[in-house]
Symmetry: C2
Subunit: 349 residues, 2 copies
DNA sequence: CCTGCCCCTGACAACGTTGTCCAGGCTCTA
DNA sequence: TAGAGCCTGGACAACGTTGTCAGGGGCAGG
């Protein structure tokens, strides 16, 4: 084994597989370190002839600038973080893609993570992203207390919350009009003659779920319909539990004649239950779903524009980074009721 | 303005908003720099009393370790890159999530980017990720020449291709049995009496599309059915063009009686076209789609397990990083034909 | 021919962290 | 009580890059 006691650090590991550095390129091209840096970054002040020599050395060695070092030196990472509930959910795919496109337009990369609706995991992810010194964060919060972000905000990490507001801190937020959407959906059912209307939604600790519930109640109250406890099922997650909740509403003495499904996951399960059911029950789902128009009957939905949520949030993020945005705001995007048949069924039974 | 000519660098910018560093913590706690490092990393050799003092300083200052610097020093970024076609595509969401979960289990973050099926953009993204010194790459390639990756591979960047093989380089790849799946799908249609079977797929330059086409041809040949040119539509992208292609097959003198749809996007559009069509046409789609079972008739599909693709690829990636995996392999996951009705319609017309 | 200016180039420090190594103080034993 | 060994803590260099600054050479003008 060749001895090299002088450079014990070299023994640490492959160190990026011993990639060539600017120093190596400089040595090979017979120029100074900084000249290589200039060529790599396209800075002016290098003779074409010198530039050519450097470029040759770069190609020969397969040099690629180490952005980790660059980041350390420059203080900006040109990357932003996105924390959401679950990338596999069809609602978040387009949102994530929209954020990515905006980031790309600003020359930034996107790091994302799924919180799986677990507040601890959300915090862990967010802080890991902060440790990486992402320039900004887009967060779809799972928890309701974000004071842990205070030092980060103070340190200048741009942050925008999406879909649900931040808890206990003052931050930018972009949301859908969940209240209005749910109210419209229920009003639509009422307009078609329903009075016994069920609501199946997520835990009310989740902002969107709470707002949609509020919209449901508001529409019922507007129509002077007293809501019975048994019409509401809150906090059910997972297909089996949603299924059971739906069946309870439908197979009781005075069953509901219509249902507002609180999100796309619930909608899908309820569609399944209704398909097996003999009585025709009206349905309005929150969030649009693919192929909803091709089912028999088509599924009436309150649609949010997931991509617009993501785009708006990301654009605000970069405006924060520009420094052109100072005070936190709350932006609400409207929803759209899309009637396709299931919401227009008359009451039956 | 207070003068500070000694430290011109401070003028560069906020530098992460002037976050406190270990040096600041050390000064405040009255200990050495390395001691802070030890506390932060939970290394042994620090008195509980000292540790407590350091921890207090950390909390007071809101210190958070700068992982950029850490990465530079350690040579490992604990992050991996994922390049895919489009995060918004329901096929890639679960795949991406699966990769993320494996990464998380290994303490790594996931950076992802969409190539939008553009080879140049793929290369740009991949190289940007390499410049960040991700430890590994999972790539769903858009291009068919990946020699640009050679220096990176040589430098030790672990790489696994998914869904489609790498072009012109030797690398690990995890794919579905596209050939077999398509052949089974078409054989299924043939078994139900069809002979004039159409195929609508992506550009054959995309590996999956080529393989599925090959499977289609093989099944036809096995059954002794000569394929007519007009039954195949290759390289159509975008809903409108798929729609036109489907209509051409259906509204001609000797129309096809069944269709194999080459991917989930095509399937959805074909379903729409068929819904408007008066004649009953059989359909088998490649890739499962949500609610496929609830349509009338249910959509028969050749299902791939997107999550398994992602999981398998990511696991191989980390085995490469362990050093326990040396020679590139090709892994093929089988597909599953799910009969739901649309594939069992008899020929008509 | 000299002076001065500008252009190109390179030396150097710094970004914030971690690995190495050494110094001191302590305990334990002979 | 002195010596050996251990434990704690800190000084220092290095990771690969970029900003600053100064020096050298060429060219134009006096």
């Amino acid at each position: 084994m060749p001895a090299s006691p002088r450079r014990p650090d070299r023994a640490v590991g492959h160190r990026y597989g011993n990639r060539p550095t600017m120093k190596d390129v400089a040595a090979r091209a017979g120029v100074g370190l900084k000249t290589v840096s200039r060529v790599v970054n396209g800075e002016p002040g290098v003779t074409p002839e010198t530039e050519h020599r450097v470029q040759e050395a770069i190609d020969a060695l397969g040099f690629r600038r180490n952005d980790s070092a660059r980041v350390l030196r420059k203080g900006r990472t040109a990357s932003i973080g996105l924390v959401l509930e679950d990338l596999a959910d069809p609602f978040y795919g387009p949102l994530s893609r929209a954020v990515e496109e905006v980031a790309r337009a600003h020359g930034a990369l996107l790091i994302n993570g799924s919180s799986a609706e677990d507040p601890d995991r959300e915090q862990e992810l967010v802080l890991a992203l902060c440790a990486r010194r992402v320039d900004g964060l887009v967060v779809i919060p799972a928890g309701d207390d974000h004071r842990y972000l205070e030092p980060e905000l103070k340190a200048g990490v741009a942050t925008v919350f999406v879909d649900r507001p931040a808890g206990r801190i003052d931050a930018d937020v972009v949301l859908s009009d969940n209240f209005g959407g749910a109210r419209d959906g229920v009003a639509h059912l009422i307009a078609h003659g329903h009075r016994r209307i069920g609501f199946i939604g997520d835990m009310p600790r989740i902002h969107t779920a709470a707002e949609r519930l509020r919209g449901y109640r508001a529409a019922m109250e507007d129509a002077g319909i007293p809501v019975e406890e048994s019409w509401m099922s809150l906090g059910v997650t997972g297909p089996e539990r949603v299924r059971r909740a739906a069946e309870e509403m439908l197979y009781r003495p005075h069953p509901v004649t219509a249902v507002l499904a609180g999100n796309n996951r619930v909608t899908v399960t309820v569609i399944r239950v209704l398909a097996e059911h003999d009585r025709r029950v009206a349905l309005v789902g929150f969030d649009d779903i693919e192929l909803a128009d091709l089912l028999q009957p088509g599924v009436t939905v309150v649609a949010q524009d997931a991509a617009a949520l993501g785009r708006t949030a990301a654009e605000r993020l970069f405006r924060q980074l520009d420094g052109s945005l100072l005070t936190p705001e709350r932006i609400e995007l409207s929803t759209r009721l899309i009637a396709r048949g299931s919401g227009e069924l008359p009451p039956e039974g």
